[in-house]
């Protein structure tokens, strides 16, 4: 049985124009019909350009945002509408690591109390006392436990991200949603945090939803990868299939655009025209058609259905075709 099952999840943000009276406008369709499942100990990479709804999806799964429609099942329970004690229980088992290691730590609290906060909130009394537990966590993530009383500003970016990881694993959750956990860090530090996340996953059989725009990092850490565009899933596959034989034109364009540290490789590049359309007025039919090099009239009228074309390889395109771009 899967740990997390998300079915047709939608998150719309209402808009309005102010003219004498508020006139409701078209909602922003940040996440528009997302379905996937995740097993214990598995890592699902969520990629796409900024504005594709990947962060909104991550936050909605954890109920940090209220879903507009759809169903979220966690560990066999329907948590779509959980409240109070039930929601608190979800938070104990599903945690988050945020992108910004500066903004996600309270600058007025010492690190010890930041990492201890989950114990306080959940009323958990760890064996050997809170202080020993916090120091154990600090040691686990590679921080000096003696720095218990220091404040976030005394730590570097990489160390602050370690504090965020320590806080997330304090209650031994089953799932962590990592929202761009390494994109604010320098290359050499990035690798340290990636290795830490991998080690902790192996120790505790954690599942990750790993949200990132860096396709190289996602390939390294994920078991399966889901590509999103304008709130919709374009393609899902295990990481090797997705990178070696992608079938969706958007995935192919995305992969071909990533620079590879190999001078003069002279790769073929699929250049996409223009920018992401507004999620308030998504194009009719296939949302990607305005930038797609394969688009035809059919794409404008008919929404492509996500179809499993090979075991575990789901593609939402009228003209799927394997094309190797790496």
């Amino acid at each position: 049985m899967s740990l997390l099952t998300v079915t047709d999840l939608k998150k719309f943000f209402p808009t309005h124009t102010q003219k004498l009276v508020k006139v409701p406008g078209d909602p922003i369709r940040a996440v528009d019909g997302l379905s996937f499942s995740l097993d214990a100990g598995e890592t699902l990479g969520l990629v796409g350009e900024s504005g594709c709804g990947k962060s909104t999806a991550g936050r909605t799964i954890l109920r940090l945002l209220e879903p507009t429609a759809g169903r979220i099942e966690f560990n066999g329970r329907d948590v779509t509408k959980s409240k109070g004690e039930e929601l608190r229980r979800l938070r104990r088992e599903a945690q988050m690591v945020f992108q910004d290691p500066y903004g996600s730590l309270n600058p007025r609290h010492p690190v010890g109390s930041i990492i201890a906060a989950p114990f306080d909130i959940q009323g958990v009394k760890p064996e050997g006392g809170v202080k020993a537990a916090v120091q154990g966590l600090m040691e686990r993530v590679g921080l000096n436990p003696e720095h218990y009383n220091r404040y976030p500003h005394e730590f570097s970016g990489g160390q602050r991200q370690r504090i965020g990881v320590a806080r997330a694993i304090a209650l031994k959750p089953k799932l962590i949603v990592c929202d761009e956990p390494v994109s604010a860090l320098d290359v050499s530090i990035q690798a340290q945090v990636i290795n830490l996340l991998e080690d902790i996953q192996a120790e505790q059989n954690l599942a990750y939803v790993f949200i990132a725009h860096d396709l190289s990092v996602v390939r390294h850490i994920s078991d399966r990868v889901m590509v999103m565009y304008l709130g919709k899933v374009m393609e899902v596959a295990d990481r090797h299939t997705l990178y070696e034989s992608p079938m969706h034109p958007y995935t192919q364009a995305l992969l071909s655009a990533v620079p590879v540290p190999e001078p003069r490789r002279g790769r073929e590049r699929i250049l996409l025209k223009g920018d992401l359309p507004s999620p308030q007025n998504p194009p009719s039919g296939c949302v990607f058609r305005t930038r797609c090099f394969k688009a035809t009239e059919r794409c404008a009228s008919e929404v492509p259905v996500a179809t499993e074309l090979a075991p575990g390889h789901i593609v939402a395109c009228h003209y799927p075709e394997v094309r190797t771009v790496l």
Binding site: E49, S50, D186, S188, I189, A191, S216, P261, E262, R269
Partner: protein, 345 residues
């Protein structure tokens, strides 16, 4: 200029140091960096935050003038020593003969003026062109950098542009006077890969057309591999490795460069081995470690022929046309790279 240093290089940075006196001590942001750049070529400057790469570029543009920064060394552009010019003489060059693309166009552009007003100003500062003629050139340039509907876009404000479009407008502003030297400080870091690919293509195309020299400052080795002809790796304010792009990626011979290459997950890497990060953190520029600044993080310091923690290694030629700053004997570095590093790439 003394005859001994007269050379044909278009840009010559000679022993440049930028130090900032602060209450906590002297910050040696850039410490004795030298390089040359020809027209039509691209130099990639790579390093982590605080390695001095942005300060180097600001120094070339003369943007440290009027601050407490202490600048020594020489910067020669087309034979003219920029460090000896008056503020007014330098202002004539800036935005004209040399221009800069900043990382964050939202803060580098004025929010109260339209894109058109800001680009027209960039022209009129340097020429006596009429407003109308300048506007025509602006619309043309916006079209050239791939902004759709330039006639309409020219009257919009920066906030009405998307990130990629804003970066294009910045590039248009930098290119409007056909600069011979273009410095791009992390121009694509904030952008999505698809937009990044468009911008890099655009810069390459414009370089071919105008023959400008480009300095590309970035932490992304992929971007460097794609666009640069030469690579300069900075660490703790110093240049630790300097050579052609092929040598720097295929025969790197500084342990820090090795660390950067092995710590980076690669899109084209099929074997999913564990990443090998560089241990520890980048140094504080107030307390740069004595000797080789990289020695506390260096995994290979045991191989060194001299004490890394007290003697500063010199930047020396390790093989033809390739400079690096390390105490480990050259032959041993080549051996270590072949046996320990290359298999992990």
């Amino acid at each position: 200029m003394s005859p001994a240093t007269a050379s044909k290089a278009f840009l010559e940075v000679d022993n440049l140091s930028v130090h900032f006196p602060t209450d906590d001590g002297l910050v040696r942001a850039v410490d004795g960096v030298s390089f040359t750049l020809e027209k039509g070529r691209t130099l990639g400057i790579v390093g982590e935050s605080g390695s001095g790469k942005s300060v180097t570029s600001l120094a070339i543009m003369g943007l440290h003038r009027g601050t407490r920064a202490k600048l020594t060394g020489h910067i020669r552009l087309d034979g003219q020593d920029l460090t000896e010019l008056t503020d007014e003489e330098l202002r004539q060059l800036r935005g004209n003969k040399m221009a800069m693309i900043f990382q964050d166009p939202l803060s580098a552009m004025h929010p109260y003026y339209t894109i058109g007003q800001q680009l027209v100003e960039a022209i009129q500062v340097h020429s006596s062109e009429s407003k109308k003629a300048a506007r025509t050139s602006v619309v043309e340039m916006l079209g050239r950098v791939g902004i759709p509907n330039p006639n309409k876009r020219v009257d919009q404000y920066p906030h009405e542009f998307s990130g990629g479009m804003r970066q294009r407008a910045m590039i248009a502003m930098a290119l409007i006077n056909n600069p011979e030297l273009l410095i791009a400080d992390e121009p694509t870091t904030a952008l999505d890969v698809t937009v990044q690919a468009q911008i890099l293509d655009l810069m390459r195309g414009l370089q071919r057309e105008f023959g400008s020299a480009i300095i590309m400052i970035t932490h992304d080795l992929g971007v460097v591999a794609e666009i640069a002809d030469q690579v300069l790796v900075m660490y703790g304010g110093k240049c630790v490795e300097y050579g052609t792009v092929d040598d720097s990626f295929h025969r790197p011979d500084h342990p820090y460069t090795w660390g950067l290459l092995t710590s980076m997950p690669r899109l084209d890497r099929v074997k999913q081995e564990r990443l090998v990060p560089v241990v520890g953190n980048p140094p504080s520029l107030i307390n740069v470690p004595p000797g080789c600044a990289f020695h506390p993080r260096c995994a290979f310091r045991a191989l060194a022929s001299q004490p890394c923690d007290s003697v500063v290694p010199e930047l020396a030629e390790s093989y033809f046309g390739h400079l690096s700053r390390c105490h480990i004997p050259v032959a041993q570095r080549a051996e270590t790279f072949a046996s320990d590093i290359a298999p992990k790439l």
